[in-house]
Amino acid sequence: MSGFWWLLRAEWTKLRSVRRWTLGLLAAVPLTLALSLLTGGGSGTDLNDHPEELGPIGPAGVPVTDNRNFVHQPMAGDGRITARVLTLTGEEGFSHEWAKTGIMLRESTEPGSRYAAMMVTPGHGVRLQADYTTDLAGSDSTGPRWLRLTRTGDTVTGYESADGVSWNRVGAVDLGDLPPTVEVGLFAASPGRLAVETSVGSSSTGSIPVRIIGTLDNVRVDSTQPQPTAQWQEDDTSKGFVQGPVGENGAANFTEADGVFTVAGSGDIGPYVPDDDVTQLSLIGVNLGLVAMVAIGVLFITSEYRRGMIRTTFAASPRRGRVLVAKATVLGVATFVVGLVASLLAFFVTQPILRSNGFGPPAYPVPSLADGPVLRAVVGAALFLTLVAVLSLGVGAILRRSGGAITAVVAAFIPLLILVGGLPLTAAQWVMRTTPAAGLSVLQTIDVDHDATAEPWSMAPPLAGLGVLAAYTAAALAVAVWLVRRRDA
């Protein structure tokens, strides 16, 4: 083991003793910062000036999405609502996996008010959801299914049943200070359908509103207190949807006939997801910072080949695989430290600029390093730069020529990133999921549908994307080790 420690010291001495390399390595910091500032300075939004676009403010004080059709009546005091979901049908044959219909108990009909709901979804079975961020899984049933919500004080408990006789508890939520009288009823909501528009050389994605039509029966409201009225009222906040008739004679999204309720709605109930990922935007500079990492990674090995110094190295350490591993380790640690400085600096310097350009609360919550996804993105940006440097070392050892190796690695990133916006969506997804550029996915902090975005850096899940780059790096190193062992030095 001491032998490997000596090798690490030797390689570290090599790395730190060439002034041009030190400067090149440190150049990753201003390069990253420069592109982040350029991007941040050139980006802007006026979303905060248009609160109607933003959605209501939820119980946690942040914007939420509250688009649904809610057919309700008041319920005084403790009590429960029961209903059986019969069918769940999307229009035009499309059912979103997260379309939902079921029963709901709300503080009020005010958008953004507190709620608990039991629902059936086509893709995720029975769920108990509350207050826009709570989501508890029930059975896998997609209907017919009996659902029940019971209010006891501020606590609402969700149940499901196959027959309306034996009930399973799904979970309970505390809705804080509920008023004495709440609104209970039936609801329906569905996220839109992904639409990809491909014109010559470019594509854009959007969402077409879709209605989900739920049918329910056996609707019962039981209360410990006398009920004010038993009249059903419709509160439809469906988004972007042209209202049309459901059933035979209705002009609205709600009909009732012989105890069967038909409720149609579009939109979603849940957290508000900003269209722009502010953290990702502030870290975008790694696209330029990687150039410095490529140069250092490649030169760390090719400069030895160029001058024949590799023979001195391999004569001093005949176990060549270990030499490469030592080089990769030293380079990895050095580039991670520099990468982290670059990433933190880009994050903290660019954030205020983005905020002053409109990317501020409430539409865009201020990202904090204490948030898991934000920390993952900032550390991930440094890891991305590290992996790029080590990948470059591997490619440098394979090709043994600085120019060829630098070109090869840079070409795997920069031109692709420029071209990828002009590719058809499937081609762009292929590039961003299977080439080393997939590593840029780690900059995401917002959970988006990776199939439904035209944003190249969001086309793969963050850690999976970084994993793709890591796999390329490991493969390049493995090939390099194999080659340096069998080649004449």
Binding site: S2, G3, W6, L7, R9, A10, E11, T13, K14, S17, V18, R19, R20, W21, S303, E304, R307, G308, M309, R311, T312, F314, A315, A316, S317, P318, R486, D488, A489
Partner: protein
Amino acid sequence: MQATIEVRSLHKRYGSTVAVDDLSFTVSPGQVTGFVGPNGAGKSTTMRMILGLDAPDRGTALVGGRPYRALRHPLHQVGALLDAAAVHPGRRARDHLLWLAHSHGMPARRVDEVIEQVGLAPAARRRAGGFSLGMRQRLGIAGALLGDPPVLMFDEPVNGLDPEGIRWIRGLLRALAAEGRAVLVSSHLMSELEDTADHLVVIGRGRVVADTSVPELLAAASEDRVVLRTSKRSEAITVLANAGGTVAATGPNTLTVSGLPAERIVALLSEHRLPFSEVSPHRASLEEAYMELTRDAIEFGAGS
């Protein structure tokens, strides 16, 4: 560990070119072994194979009885200068030696010692890019000495050195051998090794053409030849050739005769009343001997 290098039946091809062809020789402790041959004869290739850098197609090269790649701390067993230019120009001389030292857990103090030993102390903190070839040679030699190894190999160490440097390196090589180390020094010029090497391995076209001590090589090259000075050159040629000698005119008044002993030549010249002012045994220079040997090797190679 024995201070030896043993090369046995080494073969190495690069494509269709045979660089080293059935090469065998031994470098013994306590003497300087000259490794001589024209450029392209295979000296550097052989040295790279000894160091485990290039893999031979056949044959073995052992250092102290073991293949180089099996050595655990090779710098303490073999010190080598292969190419003085193999230094990053942006790195200070001392840092270049420091990474080598670190690779074997040697302290920085050892680096300062070898820098002192090769006379680079004033330039230790300068970047190697500004070094003359002679300074780089000294830096490379310092690297070879770093691990205090019993076996040393230097590939063309005299290249680029000024006369003072040449004198210094000859002294160094002699001193290293006197300490009992095995020293292998290559050169394409025999004259560089004339006063330094105890033993010579001469190669041409990848083959050993002589593996001998310096006096033996000189004796072999001088054998049977007599230098004659006479004012009647053409008559002398006729007389001596008729008597069975091989005569070459080497100057306006001088002849070199082989195949006839000196006494017989004197007798023949006296008999024919031909004047002569000098008859002496020829003393070949090492350079001549070398030229002779390598020319044969090249002719042999071309004819086969």
